[in-house]
């Protein structure tokens, strides 16, 4: 076994184990950091297939994302500080059955499908290839992503904000501007 094989299976085991830990641990804050560990391990596997830039991108984005997520997890925590013991799952048996069936189905497909042989070789610098692609023939993808991010920012603020367009007099007034 080469070092690469060892590294891959170690990272894969960490990724799946922390993925499972997300739903096993009782604390939603701990679940967030378990998910972060899973995402980081998956991102690090990209180093084994020459995708240094995407690996870095995944790690940086997911660290920020999970830190923000941790705040929300504390906000909506179901069992804060273990003071409200309760079950966090419903229909566990059905979910386990369906998830196992999905895994078996996917794994059988992965192992039995005659995957096509590789066409061509990876470029010496995949990051340059990606950059030239999104600034050239795949620019439409980047444009759509940009619009989607803008739409998400507007929609998320509209959904999350407490007041509508016309009650702008502040917390001390009702929507017609009268003092409350």
């Amino acid at each position: 076994m080469t070092a690469q094989v060892v590294a891959f299976w170690t990272l894969a085991a960490v990724a799946v184990a922390s993925g499972v830990a997300v739903f096993v641990t009782g604390s939603m804050a701990r679940a967030t950091f378990a998910l972060l560990a899973s995402l980081l391990a998956a991102g690090l596997t990209f180093l084994l297939i020459d995708l240094q830039y995407l690996s870095f991108l995944i790690i940086v984005m997911m660290v920020m994302e999970m830190l923000i997520m941790a705040v929300y997890m504390v906000m909506y925590m179901m069992n804060p500080a273990g003071l409200m013991p309760m079950t966090m799952v419903h229909n566990r048996r059905g979910a386990v059955l369906i998830a196992s069936a999905v895994f078996v189905l996917l794994a059988v497909g992965v192992l039995l499908t005659p995957w096509p042989a590789r066409r061509g070789a990876p470029p010496p610098d995949p990051t340059r290839q990606l950059g030239l692609s999104v600034m050239g023939p795949r620019m439409l993808v980047m444009i759509v992503i940009g619009v989607a991010i803008l739409a998400t920012m507007v929609a998320a603020i509209v959904l999350a904000t407490d007041r509508g367009r016309y009650d702008r007099s502040g917390d001390e007034h009702d929507r017609w501007g009268r003092a409350t």
Partner: protein
């Protein structure tokens, strides 16, 4: 590493996410399951780029899109949860069953 090994990892991550989405009661925990499923998709996208078609960057672009989708999904999910919490004081999927459809 072979394509199959990467796809097996992707399948394991995806199925773990499926379990979370189906079993968790808290809306934000359901989103954690969705993130895990997308994580599997990212692994598969990168592996397909390297092992099947490294000549053009389509696989890499797919990973880029999936990473963005993960962030957007989280933002919208928390916005919806906040709106639901404001309107009905609930943070569980069972309380919002009337949104089904």
């Amino acid at each position: 590493m072979s394509l199959r090994a990467f796809l097996l990892l992707a399948a394991a991550l995806f199925s773990t996410g499926v379990y979370g989405v189906l079993s968790q009661r808290s809306i934000v925990m359901v989103m954690m399951g969705l993130e895990l499923m997308l994580n599997g998709l990212i692994v598969a996208g990168g592996a397909f780029w390297y092992h099947v078609a490294p000549v053009n960057a389509d696989g890499q672009v797919l990973v880029l899109v999936a990473v963005t989708v993960m962030a957007l999904e989280m933002a919208m999910g928390f916005a919806v949860t906040t709106a639901l919490f404001r309107a009905r004081d609930l943070d569980e999927t069972d309380g919002a069953g009337d949104l089904k459809g």
